[in-house]
Symmetry: C2
Subunit: 114 residues, 2 copies
Amino acid sequence: MNGPDRTVVEICSALGDDTRWAILRRLEAGAASASALAEGLPVTRQAISRHLEILRGAGLVERERHGRELRYRAVGTRLGAAANQLGLMAAAWDRRLELLRERATSGTEPGQPG
Amino acid sequence: MNGPDRTVVEICSALGDDTRWAILRRLEAGAASASALAEGLPVTRQAISRHLEILRGAGLVERERHGRELRYRAVGTRLGAAANQLGLMAAAWDRRLELLRERATSGTEPGQPG
DNA sequence: ATTTAGTGCAATCATCCTGTTGCACTTCAC
DNA sequence: GTGAAGTGCAACAGGATGATTGCACTAAAT
């Protein structure tokens, strides 16, 4: 658990917005174009298009031409990897806390290194 | 996979910032106060204090009095739950894509519902 | 060729976020 | 009590972000 991948920060940043979650929820029901998404959300097509670019940059979404429209679909690969990494990190944090408690029980004070 | 928990969005938002990652990385090496953290990071103590409040609001960090100082430590419980949820979501997305490919192979076009 | 649907790009605006400085308050040490 | 360390709160500046409008471009349908 050295440092967080750049990708993870990017994914988290992308998932830190309500509108983007709304978009992803729509995409869970099937691929859709920016215009189609705009008809069900309280923002303009251009705003959604921008959000989709961010999601695509984070690897959460891919697009595909279908005639004159671009259909976006949610892709789980990157998100799965990020989730795994976060899970490991969380486990490490909890493990650390357990170790501290064990040492506390054995009477040794675990001061700050540095 | 109905909708994302409010907590997950908050956690993602909290993890979408580089300074906060830097703080968490420090906390992985041991609990520390805002002032102590400020000595190793290129931002002021007040800025760090604000970040710590955000991390605390997301449940990624807890604090504890030690004399006149407040020591913060990373807690994995919430993050673990969020990671799990994200992992399930990612798996669902990939599963959806597989289903589409299966149907495509059997000749049926999976148009958009709606 | 004209119309229509879908998209992209640029400029603009309001808002939020991050970081700063400055000051007041508490608490430990002397 | 005095000084120093640690913290909290408030006001402010700068930059990033989310959303809008307006216009131009491409591709399918008539």
